[in-house]
Symmetry: C2
Subunit: 212 residues, 2 copies
């Protein structure tokens, strides 16, 4: 059964349980998905309404375009909720492989490294998708339905937490990767993702506070 | 049907839809609930395990106590997911009351004010509960199962976003309340909640980064 097919209550209970998955990776993807969904809601409460008609054509098409993009990102982030737990479980399976003979040991090591790489790539993808969400949000705080201004703000907070949470999960999995140049590059990329995300979040949140 | 009984996928889709509820208030309560659940998971992956046995009695009892508290907070925050949308819907119902006669107008105004107060009190409660979660988290990052250190970090990010998101929803509803002394007091309280929350989040996140 997919995590996204569980009830909200059961999902939360499973997170809280003494099973290591689903954990922070899946929850981070969900946070960004919720942030994207709130942004889509602001768009859906804007397009075609009175306030929308007063916008310039440029502003209208920017809203339309961003709404289409953020709606797709909700879907992608929902997939990443399950992909993260699945990658973690694959790593746990690889750890259970037999390690009696030298041949088995080598096969286990290779399987573990491959699984670890995947367990790092999934949250890295989630962090990148979260940044895409954050890039789309400001326009909704600026021109979107002002009754939903706080929803645009909560959307930015959650997408940014989802981004940084995903980065935590990239960084912890990097610990098991031996290629140090590769590790250094990914670390640099993560730092840049977090910094860009926080900057975008702060821009959107500033607009929200200025209108409250 | 309660929101927490919907599947994760359906909940996210309903957030994204052109219905104003569930919106940022319910999503903020869910974010804090997920943050509390991740913290509970770290506790559940710690108590009774090897690393736990090495802790001092004081550290053990602090972990035990915080785990019990955060587990209760998950439940309370889950309730607030539905209470927020329910309060919003009550306000919408009050707005629909007849307003032909003076008597009807007065009754509608009173009902709207009462509903608005409730729609402000629910996220204020959610913000306070989120701060309680944040107060409990640092110890899990410090002494908890170090394989789950990133989960403690994601928990802090989400509880803080849930707190600030709830505060947005308090502030927007304050706009409709006429008692200016009351409004000023709540604004002050919100500012203090957000500042304390961010400080606690930063302390926990700093520990996480230092161990990655």
């Amino acid at each position: 059964m997919l995590l996204v097919d569980k009830t909200v209550k059961d999902f939360v209970a499973q997170v809280a349980s003494n099973e290591p998955a689903p954990g922070g990776g899946s929850v981070s993807a969900l946070a960004s998905s919720l942030g994207a969904a709130l942004t889509a809601m602001v768009g859906n409460l804007t397009v075609g309404r009175k306030a929308y008609e007063k916008l310039t054509d440029d502003q209208k098409s920017q809203l339309d375009e961003n709404l289409a993009k953020v709606t797709k990102l909700v879907e992608r982030l929902n997939e990443l909720i399950d992909e993260d737990t699945s990658a973690f479980n694959d790593y746990m399976e690889a750890m259970k492989l037999p390690k009696e003979t030298d041949e088995e040991k080598a096969a286990r090591k290779a399987a573990m490294e491959e699984a670890l790489k995947k367990a790092m790539e999934v949250p890295l993808d989630a962090a990148k998708q979260s940044l895409e969400v954050l890039k789309l949000q400001k326009v909704f705080a600026e021109y979107g339905n002002q009754n939903a201004i706080t929803d645009a703000g909560v959307g930015a907070l959650l997408a940014c937490s989802g981004l940084e949470g995903a980065v935590f999960n990239v960084l912890i999995n990097l610990g098991g990767i031996s290629d140090q140049d590769y590790v250094a590059n990914i670390k640099k990329e993560c730092e840049s993702l977090v910094n860009s995300g926080k900057e975008l979040r702060d821009e959107t949140v500033k607009i929200v506070y200025s209108k409250l």
